[in-house]
Every structure is written in structure tokens, then in C-alpha cells.
Symmetry: C2
Subunit: 343 residues, 2 copies
């Protein structure tokens, strides 16, 4: 097999200069249509394809590559996010360079630096839990590389982002539980110190408030977990604690579906019937939720759509100098058997 054709080959075959060939191939003006035609024909014949590596060097930025970093690929939500990104990227002929932070801000920084070094044309980041914006993300922005933040927010961040309206989601979950007739609604929460945990707690409280229900801090149980297993365990523990109260809750809004799994386990072991004794609403509409028994009511975050939009934002940001793209998706409440009392 002979090597790939390059500009020089075409030029020599046609007895023109490399410059002319380049011009013809790049649809420049200032070129004789006839010359252009013959060059195009020859390019086709030799099956010419531009060499990305050379182009990249020239532009000192990799061509058509976005760096994507998420905490964990195997977390269902992120994998759907990724699916959306890859869909759009593929469509626009972009490559996806993938990294995981594993919820370590140091590793996140390393990956992002590597991305920079590789010369990616953009970065899509679903930040890890205690991600350091100034240290990790700012340097990329300073390089004038478009960045789109996904899933969660940084404090005071006002660049491109695509995320979930966690506040509204939590608010809806609580409202739904109230409407279902539950009276003592607890929230097994994630840390208040990052946007997702914070917003959902806020939405939970606002939900109670607007329905004239008291806010009992005993009903707010804060958990810390980084994956499904830990989530389930924490959910179990939190549930145990809640049911040790003098007056246990009769419903739980769980900050994630993973936590809800722990709740289900606790309920099953202690003969607490869902939804009769305990209403449960999760968050994420993870794959598992609909197969739980009873199926778990939850909030769909539509990761795929978010991913597609994130890529789209990046793409538009590339050519829109300075314009900023932002979108908050309102999660969609999916009511299943875990939160509706039989008549």
C-alpha cells in the first residue's frame, strides 16, 4: 500500500505549485476555475485527505477535538450525558477525548491540564464534587478555549453551562408528596456545600414552606457518598436514623435514586411498606428506578439532551466571540408506584 497522498503529490502530478493546490482545496478565491477543477479531480483520484496533525500544528490547536471530563463514566447519568455529547460530536465530525476525575479535584486538574496540552479546541466538564474552579478551569478559559460546564454550577460562575434546575426538581418532588397526602416529609440530602446538594435542599424547604408545612431540621439528613454503593449504604443509614425519631417521617425525598435504594432496603427489612407507610421520591431516573419494587418515582434529568446541548454550546461558542450560552433544564417528575397512596 502506498502512503497517503499529500499536497505535494497533487502539485507534482499537475505541474502546479503546492500553494495553488492548497488554495483550490480550501475554496479560496483567486484561482482559475479550470485549474481548480483539475486539482479537485486529481485530489479525488489520489484519495487525498488533509493531514490533521499538520493542520493542528499550524493552528497550534488540535483540530476537531473536544475534551470531556466527568466524575465517573459508569454513573448512569454521566453515561447518558456522554452519549448526548458523542452524538452531536460525531455529527459535527468532532473527536471526543475522555477523562474521569473520580471526584478528585487534583485528578481533575491533571486531566484538564493534559487536555490543554493536547490542544483541544474545547472542554466540556461535569465538575467533581469539590472542584476548584480557579485552579482547574480558569486557566483553560484564559487560554481562550471554550468551556461548557455541565450538570452543576460553580459559585458565581457566569460562563457557558448546561445544568439541571435542581431547585425546581426538589420543589416538585416535595409538592407531589404533599399532594399525595404525606404529612411528614423528610429529605435525605447531599452536602449543602456544593450546588446540587444545596439547590435540592433549598427546593425541599421551599416546597414545604409553600404548602404551609413546618420545617423540621430532624427531617433533614445529610449524606456523603461518591458512588452507587456508598449511596445505598448512606441511604440505609439515614433511613435508620429517621426511623429512630420519636415521630418518623411518612415520606422521603431522596437526593438521588441511589440513596433511595438504601431506603428501600431499610424499608424491606423493617416491614415498612412503600408507598403505604412511606412515600419515596428519588432523583435522576436512573436505570434501576423503574425496576425497583415498587417502581420508584423520580425526576428525569435528560442527560442525553443536556449532552447534546453542551456540545452545541461549545460549538457555537467557538465562533461567537464572547457570547455566552446557558441553559437550565427543568427535570421532569416521573410518578411511579413509590409515592402514590392507594385510594
Amino acid at each position: 500500500m502506498n502512503r497517503r497522498a499529500k499536497l505535494k503529490d497533487i502539485a507534482e502530478a499537475l505541474n502546479v505549485s503546492i500553494t495553488t493546490v492548497s488554495r483550490a482545496l480550501n475554496n479560496k478565491t483567486d484561482i482559475n476555475p479550470t485549474t481548480k477543477q483539475s486539482i479537485l479531480a486529481m485530489a479525488k483520484e489520489l484519495n487525498y485527505k488533509p493531514n490533521n496533525l499538520a493542520l493542528s500544528l499550524r493552528k497550534s490547536s488540535t483540530l476537531n477535538v473536544v475534551g470531556v471530563i466527568v466524575p465517573h463514566v459508569k454513573h448512569y447519568f454521566f453515561s447518558t450525558l456522554l452519549e448526548g455529547i458523542m452524538n452531536s460530536a460525531h455529527e459535527m465530525n468532532y473527536f471526543v477525548l475522555l477523562g474521569e476525575s473520580l471526584h478528585s479535584t487534583d485528578r481533575e486538574k491533571k486531566v484538564l491540564d493534559d487536555f490543554s496540552e493536547h490542544g483541544v479546541s474545547g472542554v466540556l466538564i461535569a465538575p467533581c464534587k469539590h472542584s476548584d474552579f480557579n485552579k482547574n478551569v480558569l486557566p483553560i478559559i484564559h487560554r481562550r478555549t471554550p468551556v461548557v460546564v455541565m450538570d452543576r454550577m460553580y459559585d458565581n460562575y457566569n460562563g457557558n453551562f448546561v445544568n439541571t434546575n435542581d431547585f425546581k426538581g426538589a420543589f416538585e418532588a416535595v409538592s407531589h408528596l404533599v399532594q399525595s397526602g404525606y404529612k411528614r416529609i423528610a429529605h435525605i440530602a447531599s452536602s449543602d456545600s456544593w450546588s446540587i446538594g444545596h439547590e435540592r435542599i433549598k427546593g425541599y424547604k421551599e416546597g414545604l414552606r409553600q404548602h404551609g408545612m413546618p420545617i423540621d431540621e430532624n427531617y433533614l439528613s445529610i449524606c456523603n457518598f461518591n458512588n452507587k454503593e456508598e449511596g445505598a449504604e448512606e441511604g440505609y443509614r439515614a433511613c435508620h436514623k429517621l426511623f429512630s425519631l420519636k415521630e418518623p417521617p411518612d415520606a422521603i425525598f431522596s437526593v438521588t435514586d441511589d440513596i433511595a435504594i438504601g431506603v428501600y432496603q431499610y424499608a424491606q427489612e423493617n416491614n415498612i411498606s412503600i408507598p403505604n407507610d412511606l412515600g419515596v421520591v428519588g432523583f435522576s431516573n436512573s436505570e434501576i428506578s423503574k425496576y425497583l419494587n415498587p417502581p420508584l418515582s423520580t425526576l428525569e434529568q435528560n442527560g442525553k439532551k443536556m449532552g447534546e446541548m453542551a456540545f452545541d454550546f461549545f460549538f457555537r461558542a467557538l465562533n461567537a466571540n464572547g457570547q455566552i450560552f446557558q441553559k437550565s433544564f427543568k427535570p421532569e417528575l416521573i410518578i411511579r408506584g413509590s409515592s402514590v397512596l392507594p385510594k
Copy 2:
């Protein structure tokens, strides 16, 4: 902010030639130790980092990038595979370029061609269902780019691979069901026309044979599905068919956990008790399996380990001219509540 230091900067600062700097930085011989020291020092001071783009162009192959393609990232097994790959890649300072085939052989080809064009230093592929080896993979091998096939096999393929010993897994599943006391074991299978389906069917039959049980083709129900949803639906349908037989099975070895979910749904709707009336064993140890009710017995494939090894194989293949690396992982039977009759 000033731009990145390059060789020239170091050279000028020290009044030596670019060549010398390059030599010093690349640990070449033929260089005065003193010169070398000062160059190294200056490089550090200027925070010099080699420009990958330039290096790549020079070597006409991207530096430190592997292309990874899987059918679906959001499929749990593939996401764990990916996790393993990324772990190892990160450790060895490699980038991961990711693509999805979505079980379309055309898309797979497109992605692989793109990888080639990008000049990846290697390709790790979990082939899609009807992947065309000659068309999709062979061209890459011809370019002398190391390829590692993951998860499943191509017919007569004898290059690098890492996969699951599907035959043994199926065999163990059936043996376990026999030992649990089930008498009429059915297999809801995947198409015989690709390695995974084929091997599991073979293992199923061999399991029956070795335990002196008859092979009833009515008990072999073949499904076609590309994702979890379809899997569950197909499982449901297949189950329905099996239970329409004059003598329905009392156990099902399901080719994937997804299929088993459909079986669970059918069982629940028809008051068939698992494991009392029906033993079930799945395949994959997907996240869901342990949270089903009862928890599903299944086979753990250890995607993470496979991924790590796949990368390792690629890495070794890079420098081992012609040597071939192969490994079949024996899946590990995980016995849970779905396949053990109470005493």
C-alpha cells in the same frame, strides 16, 4: 500571560543551539553533562513542555492517544470496561479518544477510520454485534497500529484480545441451577450468529449434557435486542412463550441481566415465585441485579479488570514486535436469592 516556552527560548536564553537543547531534553548521549544540566535547569525555569502537536507531526502519529470504541457507553458493562481502560491509560499518560458504534457496523467503520486519520497509536475495540472485521478492523492492522479486541471475538481472529469465557460462564450457570435442584432449565439466548450468543448457547447445552439432562429445543428461546429496554421486553416475551409450553421450565438461564428483568416482570405479573417456582440466573452482574427482588444470581465479568488488561496489552504490543497477547477471563458466578431453593 506569555506563551509557552519552546526549544528556541531555552536555546536563546543559554546561547546554545536548538539541537543541543533537544538532545539534552531527550537524554541523548553525546552531550556535555554541564551543558545538559544548565539546559535542564532552564527548561524547568521556563516551565518548558514539549508540544505534542509538533511531535505528532514529526512522527506522523498522534502521541499517546488510544482510540476506544464500544457499542454503547451507557451499557453498564462497557462503562466499567471503559473505567478500567481509562485508569491504565491515565497512569501511563495516555489519552483516550472515545467513539460509539451504537451496534451499527457502518458507524463503527466510520469511527475507526476517523481514529486512523487522527493517527491514534492504538485501537481498543469492543466490536458491535455484526461488526465486519475485514472491512472495519483489518485496515487498521495493516497500518501496523496495534489493535486489541475486547469482550467478544471475531471468527478466526488471532490477534490481541481480552474477553469473557462465555462458554464456561454459561456452563457454570447451568451447573449451578442443576445443583440447586431445578429440572427443566431453559435458556433465553442471544443470537447464535455472534460469538457471545453462540458461546453461551454452547455452554448451556454442554452444561445440560454433562449433567445427563435432555436438551429440549423448545427450551431455547432466541432473542434480539440492543439495549436494556429491548432486552427487558424481549425477556418478557420469551418468558411468556416458555410458559405457554405444555411443560414450562422451572429455571431460566438468561443470556443477560437485562433479559432477566423481563423474566422478573413476567413472573411477578403471573404470580410465579422466584426462586420457588422459577430459578433465574443472569449474566453480567449489572448494577441492577443485586437490587432486584429477589437479588439476581449472575456472572460477574469484571469489566474494569478487562479494560485495564486491554490497555496493558495495547501498551505491550506497541513495543513487542509481533508478539500477540490474549486473555479469556473466566466469569465468576455470584449466587444470590434467585436461584437457590429454600430447604
